[in-house]
Amino acid sequence: MCAAPADANPTYHKRAATPLFAGWRRAALMLQYAAFPVLVLILWQVFSSVGFVRRNVLPPPSDVIAVWYDLVTGATDVAARYSGTWLDHAWASIWRVFAGFAWGVSLGIFFGLIIGLSRIMERVFDPTIQVMRNIPVTAWVPLSLVFFGIGNAPAIFLIGLGAFFPTVVNTTHGVRQMNLTLYKAAQMMGASEGELTRRVILPAALPSILTGVRLSMGIAWVLVVVAEILAVRSGLGYLLNDAYLFYRNDVVIAAMLSIGLLGFLSDRLVVLVRHYLLAWNVKETFGGQD
């Protein structure tokens, strides 16, 4: 009477995708992605080439690509004194970003955990942090130059400071919004303070912590440019500022795009780590995980 019908698992037939149809679909998709950037590049090329603006004020994309190529390879010498220097500058910036990031994020997670877990620690540290985080990190530039002098130290200090605040705020939030039942369950099973922190609180707060880390990464690339313009003689920020002083706007734009590219790649790196660590945290939301 109640037996399952013979075809218990009906297959739903999609419209058969012929190779031709699939090819069209892919082309349409590519067009949606490519249309706007290509249009911008064409307009820019035309705008700069026909002489609306002088070529050295706004060099066309073709010039920028040529100078970028020489910056990286040193093959054509169109970048003159900057020829072949890209890798050193890029490496200097990347190194500073990650060094500053490392101390800022570690300290942020540490303080976020203790503030989130203890009302006493909250009273001791939170007011100071709440006031300090409203001071734009760029306002720290003069003092950091006075304290640390010219060199890597002020850059790493500023980047770390910029990473610290979003991380500490988000970590605190992550600890606070942890499901109390999980905490009680682990406590009931006999978890020690250390085990609770490491195996319950930290993983529960991880989504929030990584949100803080992602925000920090964005700020880090802003601050590395500021620091390199003012405090050091290497890095993409320095290259950008130096080329500006020598009126090499093609190099300026190539440096800008390089910073954008590296910022984008490091953001992707954080997102990748996040996807790997938070595979469990898939929520049913309109936008999905991110």
Partner: protein, 262 residues
């Protein structure tokens, strides 16, 4: 061996203790006895369970487990929560193994072996590597019960464990719990507001009244064991249900009008 003695326990909340949640509670849960605690919402039944679990301390009176006063939560008293306590970042099997991988439970045997036995016992072997979010409500609560049973507590404290499940799943889970209990014979205190559930599972059922929470009556359930679903229509079951329902309803109505008068 595990016997719970609740002696003259009161619990008050709020500034100056003006909200009295429990007043003068005396109850004994004998070794390997299954006691259910039933009452209208707000009668303090979950508070009493929290006190026995050690999450909170009584304002006065004392709670003894095998003669030792309870001071904090511990693996001798396994708690099953209404909101399933499974770590969303761990698979089903890692959740079940969690308790045994804690330092406090190292001596209780290999997590691997116990987990395998629990997975088999709870019928969760096919979903062992899934995450809790990928399970149905009934499966989730089975996994939560398995994770508590894995640390082999002598007492099981269950706070409306099936409250969030649909009625069909709930009745299946009740039989599952009884089956486990027949095998392992732990002392169980189960809090519920479902009168049928309270009677069907219990050796004794404790009916509580609200504001302040007191024990109104302790009823012996003289239905034979093992219990069968068909007993829901047994005249003895129906008589018990009518008796408990009358008590709980009268108390709920009295509490509501008292709240309105205040």
């Amino acid at each position: 061996m595990a016997r719970i003695d609740v002696r003259n326990v009161s619990k008050a909340f709020g500034a100056g203790g003006h909200v009295v949640a429990l007043a003068g509670i005396n109850v004994v849960i004998a070794d390997r006895e299954l006691v259910t605690l039933v009452g209208a919402s707000g009668c303090g039944k979950s508070t009493l369970l929290n006190l026995i679990a050690g999450f909170e301390q009584p304002t006065s009176g004392e709670i003894l487990v095998d003669g030792v006063p309870v001071s904090r939560p511990g693996p001798d008293r396994g708690v099953v929560f209404q909101q399933t306590a499974l770590f969303p970042w761990l698979s089903v099997e890692d959740n079940i193994a969690f308790g045994l991988t804690l330092k406090a439970n190292r001596h209780k045997g290999s997590p691997q072996a116990v987990t395998n036995r629990m997975l088999e016992r709870t019928g969760l072997l096919p979903v062992r590597s899934r995450r809790p979010s990928e399970l149905s409500g009934g499966m989730r609560q089975r996994a939560a019960i398995a994770s508590v049973l894995a640390i082999n507590p002598s007492i099981l404290l269950m706070d409306e464990p099936f409250g969030a499940l649909d009625s069909l799943t709930r009745s299946i889970m009740q039989d599952f719990l009884l089956e486990i209990w027949e095998e392992e014979r732990k002392s169980v205190l189960l809090v519920t507001h479902d009168i049928d559930e309270a009677i069907y599972l219990a050796d004794r059922t404790v009916v509580m009244t609200a504001q302040p929470g007191r024990i109104c009556e302790v009823i012996d359930v003289d239905l034979p064991r093992p219990r069968r679903y068909a007993m829901h229509s047994d005249p003895r079951f129906i008589a018990l249900r009518e008796r408990v329902t009358a008590l709980v309803r009268n108390e709920a109505i009295r509490a509501m009008s008292a709240a309105q008068a205040a």
